[in-house]
């Protein structure tokens, strides 16, 4: 089981990648994936105010408890600044 993780803006700079496939254990939730990423790349959490940035699964905002499914596209969003 795996998900595709997309990185944007400062998270792309910190991770050095635009996207990656990532294996996940059965039952993993969005917050579990975030903790895993931060463990590997502590810079992701550098400018964070809360415990986890806003997250999207398959291009829709979702919460930290959302279960991940095989093939999901997951994104953690640094502070947006459109307009």
């Amino acid at each position: 089981m795996s998900v595709r993780v997309l990185y944007f803006a400062s998270f792309r700079d910190v991770s050095g990648r635009q996207e990656e496939e990532r294996p996940i254990p059965p039952g993993a939730r969005v917050a579990d994936l975030w903790r895993e990423l931060v463990a590997e790349m502590p810079g992701l959490a550098a400018s964070l105010t809360g415990s986890m940035p806003p997250a999207a699964v398959n291009a829709e905002y979702t919460g930290p408890e959302t279960p991940l499914r095989d093939g999901d596209e997951v994104t953690f969003l640094p502070p947006v600044a459109g307009g």
């Binding site: 400062s10 502070p79 947006v80 600044a81 459109g82 307009g83």
Partner: protein
């Protein structure tokens, strides 16, 4: 498609105003030559394209529910923009002006709050930073000067 890689055509949006509408409120977000006291040379807007499209669509649908007599057109630029270029264009038109103003203001406020678009400022000294509107001052990201 709300996102555009080419310069936004405000005149074309204005040409879409219905003849039953007498009040047209336009908001243009324009690239400034400075921010928080530091000069800006250019801006990069990066978007999570698929999600930005659907989020703007959701915002547009919400505006249509709240202001049913108001027609709202939204375009957002992505890529590299020079000072003075239009980053976002909103044209809200209604039979009367109060609704046009209210819908236009709500549109830009909501776009800034939730649409996954990011803005990198390039300074004349070669440094860059991703803007964090929630910070009191822009976050000084650790990006090194780019080769020029």
């Amino acid at each position: 498609m709300y996102l555009k890689e080419q310069p936004l055509d405000v005149a074309a949006l204005l040409a879409g105003v219905r003849h039953s509408d007498g009040g047209v409120c336009v908001f243009l977000g324009v690239v400034r030559n400075e921010n928080a006291g530091r000069p800006t040379e250019k801006i990069e807007y990066q978007a999570y394209g698929a999600m930005a499209e659907s989020e703007i669509g959701r915002i547009a649908a919400g505006l249509a529910r709240e202001w049913p007599d108001t027609q709202v057109a939204i375009r957002h630029r992505v890529g590299e923009l020079s000072v003075g270029e239009v980053a976002v264009a909103i044209v809200a038109s209604a039979p009367h002006r109060a609704e046009a103003f209210a819908a236009c203001r709500a549109a830009i406020d909501r776009i800034k709050a939730t649409v996954p678009i990011w803005k990198r400022e390039f300074h004349p000294d070669g440094t860059t930073e991703w803007l964090d509107p929630s910070a009191a001052t822009p976050s000084r990201s650790p990006t090194a000067p780019l080769p020029r």
